[in-house]
């Protein structure tokens, strides 16, 4: 029986192509194009990781395959996996990381005062036009900017993005969390007039610790979005 030119297997985060070892490369490309043309509805606009098996390919040949797939379907290939790294979990991580990076560079606005007991959760970065009072919580997968007093709890990069930051016009938070790092404000009487004005500051995470600094050009240059 003649061996099939291409066999596609897919999981939630990626597809694996089993390629015929003996076919000439051009014929193989056509076969791949054929395969992807027909079920193009099936993979609508998906972003996926790609793995290739059954044949040794050069860099150029891999790029050719990606080009053919993207031409013949609405798929977007995010990366090619080496054969030994072929695991769904790995594919998953890459797709989700890419996703959360995308999300954190997007953002939305919230206008109003967040009060004690209120929780604001966001899949993207968030900008608050107002105060965050003590006892209020913000959870964002991206960055958090507060144009007002920040006196509550903020968790930026909640999905694990350690490059997230928190900035506020008046930074006096109860707690800041960035990814897995947690920082508590130093023990002070929270309401005396002396420390209610802290000025604009930015918080970022480095090596599992959280640093608070006045917003300067140098700090902003170091921020990665």
């Amino acid at each position: 029986m003649k061996q099939q030119a291409v066999v596609i297997k897919s999981n939630r985060y990626g597809i694996t192509l089993f390629l015929n070892r003996d076919l000439p490369f051009q014929e193989l490309l056509e076969a791949i194009g054929e395969k992807f043309r027909t079920p193009s509805d099936f993979f609508q606009n998906a972003r996926m990781a790609l793995a290739l098996e059954g044949r040794k390919l050069s860099q150029e040949e891999q790029m050719e395959i990606i080009r053919v797939i993207e031409e013949n379907s609405t798929l977007e290939i995010l990366c090619i996996l080496e054969q030994d790294a072929l695991k769904e979990s790995f594919m998953k991580r890459i797709v989700e990381d890419r996703q959360s990076e995308r999300d954190s560079s997007n953002g939305r606005f919230y206008k109003g005062t967040l009060r004690s007991g209120q929780v604001l959760e966001s899949e993207t970065s968030i900008i608050i036009l107002g105060d965050v009072n003590p006892g209020a919580t913000i959870v964002s997968k991206g960055n958090v900017v507060v144009l007002g007093n920040l006196k509550g709890i903020v968790h930026a990069g909640a999905a694990g993005n350690e490059n997230s930051f928190v900035a506020a016009l008046n930074m006096a938070p109860m707690q800041i969390r960035i990814a897995d790092a947690i920082g508590c404000s130093p023990e002070e009487a929270p309401y005396t007039r002396k420390n209610s004005r802290k000025g604009p500051m930015i918080a970022y995470s480095e090596g599992g610790s959280i640093y608070l600094e006045p917003i300067t050009k140098k700090v902003i240059n170091d921020i990665r979005i």
């Binding site: 009060r115 004690s116 107002g130 105060d131 009072n133 003590p134 006892g135 006196k151 309401y191 209610s196």
Partner: protein, 261 residues
């Protein structure tokens, strides 16, 4: 057009009942027809502050359960004929009434009264939900203490969630001497945190304690707190009134003492 105002704070002991009694009496003094409703079922005390304790026959729960007509349960004040009190029950708890029943009851009262003041219980449970169900606006009472302000903040959030956006602030029991020495938050500090309009500030005045114990609201008398309450009433009615200077006059010896500090 009648207005339903809930007086609430979240935290207990900040002066909700005292404020209700004084604001209600003050509005009645200005010829408004006012009814005070004590929604703190099981812990009734507005009647004590008003000095009407011994006249209670029927109460809020009796009205809601249909044991009597509203008219029978309303107690006319002994000083002002256009001031009424609907007392709460002492033998039941908050679950005896639900928000729908409160809305129905208050809708009946709206036709008769200019102002309906609801004295809210402390906390955010059933009693609070009953009290705010029919309210058009809210007076948030707080003292200049962190715990009271934190609770007031939560209450304002809950009121907003229940579509009561017309909330004003009353800062109670403020002591200007402590504010000046930096040991107490000023009205401005409180307003900055809570971000709602200030309706008035009431000084920590012993005349309030005396008046409360005598069952005779101090609103409108010559004491500083009495004047402050009267101003609050006028602001409730939409008048523009400048804020009082709450500083207690030192007198000769006070000034002498200050000189040597």
């Amino acid at each position: 057009m009648s207005e339903v105002i809930v007086i609430t704070s979240g935290k207990g002991g900040v002066g909700k009942t005292t404020t209700t009694a004084n604001v209600g009496t003050g509005l009645a003094k200005m010829d408004q027809k006012v009814v005070l409703i004590d929604t703190d079922i099981g812990l009734r005390n507005l009647d004590v502050v008003m000095g009407l304790e011994n006249r209670i026959v029927y109460n809020l729960v009796d009205v809601v359960e249909g044991n009597c007509r509203i008219k029978q349960a309303l107690i006319k004040d002994k000083r002002y004929p256009n001031l009424y009190l609907l007392p709460s029950a002492q033998t039941r708890d908050k679950t005896a009434v639900n928000p729908e029943q409160m809305i129905k009851l208050i809708d009946e009262l709206r036709e008769e009264f200019d102002y309906i003041l609801l004295d809210c219980p402390a906390g955010i449970e059933q009693g609070f939900k009953n009290a705010i169900a029919a309210a058009d606006r809210a007076l948030i009472v707080t003292t200049p203490e962190v715990s009271a302000i934190r609770d007031a903040d939560r209450i304002i959030g809950l009121l907003e969630a229940n579509d009561i956006r017309n909330a004003d602030l009353i800062v109670n029991r403020i002591r200007m001497d402590m504010v000046e020495s930096g040991n107490m938050m000023s009205m401005d500090d409180v307003v900055e945190i809570l971000a709602i309009d200030l309706l008035g500030a009431v000084p920590d005045d012993e005349s309030v304690v005396i008046a409360t114990n005598q069952g005779e609201p101090c609103v409108g008398d010559s004491s500083l707190a009495g004047q402050a309450y009267m101003n609050i009433c006028r602001r409730v009615m939409g008048e523009e009134v400048p804020f009082l200077d709450l500083k207690i006059k030192d007198g000769f010896f006070g000034k002498l003492k200050k000189l040597f500090k």
